[in-house]
Symmetry: C2
Subunit: 298 residues, 2 copies
Amino acid sequence: MTQPFSKPAGRLAFTTDGYVVNPIFFPGGDIGKLAVCGTVNDLAMNGARPLYLSLSAIIEEGFLLSELERIMQSVKKATEEAEVSIIAGDTKVVNRGQADKLFITTSGVGIISPGIDISGANARAGDKVLLSGTIGDHGIAIMSQREGLRFSMTLESDCAPLNKLVSQMLEGSSSIHCLRDPTRGGLATTLNELARQSKVGIVVEEAKISVKEEVKAVCELLGLDPIYVANEGKLVAVVDSADANKILARMKKNNYGRDAAIIGEVTNEHPGKVVMKTKLGPSRIVDMLSGELLPRIC
Amino acid sequence: MTQPFSKPAGRLAFTTDGYVVNPIFFPGGDIGKLAVCGTVNDLAMNGARPLYLSLSAIIEEGFLLSELERIMQSVKKATEEAEVSIIAGDTKVVNRGQADKLFITTSGVGIISPGIDISGANARAGDKVLLSGTIGDHGIAIMSQREGLRFSMTLESDCAPLNKLVSQMLEGSSSIHCLRDPTRGGLATTLNELARQSKVGIVVEEAKISVKEEVKAVCELLGLDPIYVANEGKLVAVVDSADANKILARMKKNNYGRDAAIIGEVTNEHPGKVVMKTKLGPSRIVDMLSGELLPRIC
């Protein structure tokens, strides 16, 4: 299906992502919500206002129509929250056993307003590093569901569209240098990517990084470090230090940024490397994730 | 991956399609070429000049890297021929048995120049119906490969990017009312869609519709009618009768339109219905395809 649309002012951004998450329903969301939020967030992290999405579904023969409808309802709900429109779509059905229930690929087009220049290469020494909330919620929610772990408290994925949080952060400010959502590979991988792209060092304080008790518990049980676990509703921002507190205050006003904190800063020392000041005192180098922690996390 | 791009003049068009063709390599192409041509053609059939594509691949664990490289080479070749750029991409790997080798979803953004108004609802009584070449090549090539049928002559898919053919047809002319590529459901389904959308009747002459001997032979063997078999490099155009011969001459100059012909015309009689004058004399109603002739044809 092709759909013409009217042309807005500014530069355009275009993104795509395939979603193969297993299970397709999980606490806090499903593959449909995830696909919409993921593409919305990809655009938002480039400073683009998401406008139009496409959705292509590959469905295994025998997949229940009732489940497909439930997923499309959550697609609808997510697009309404993010205020984006799905204007193109496709479905393909393959024989039983040729796909695992349902795969969704979303693409998105957005608009980058004049004057906005956000890039992973823009971090400068002295900048502050902000994190919008707790880490590891999505990855641990998926893993718990998959492994059949049960808790006294319900652990939910943080899956959410962050475009409004971003637009509130950007309001009247050109001091946001980098934005990124720490999905696959988690916070540690995102910080390393920014350090490498910007050729700077990043220092973060472990004590400033929030991790929910349930996430901590599962991580200890399974020998995982939450800084490597995927998030689907969090962002990292690198901002001019002069505006850091102002931007932090704006973030805290948004439901998806209410636990935001300044977790560290950018330095000219150890370019390309991320160092964490641990709660116990000594600093350690935080490396990128090598290999994949969990398959089919998104 | 998100990529900003500069904004061209005119209306924009956005499309998406998933490709699950089986086998992934077939005479005349592979899943990569098909995915690029399919999305390029979707845009071209709306009168849009294709500009940017995204490509998302879902890959089964154990799929040979050498085959993936071969497919990406044909993606590259097809984008070069169509003069489009892939500016966003994603890959996901799923466990063995959770997908059948490789699925590709492409999305595309194109530009519709001012003054172009092509729609399935624009056919008017008196218009001529043009077909760009032989029908059924893609579907029969896939089916032959799948069923292990062998012929003395090689039957190839017609899979091709048609955007240049379309831009040559459009040159300085606003008399093209409808454009459509007869993919799933074949020529018969496309003609029925146009008749219904435009609320007109369409009359075509069987003798004017070219079918290759090999396609005829396989269709007879399997009890298929080539007018229902999928094409991936053909188009149907409904044009003002005054300009039909001029447009036909332009089509014949392009390699993908060299066998083009005027196959029929639009009438006010039997609105919503397609009638075929058979070679033997009598006319018959050509209905839409009900159900799917072949699964995983694209």
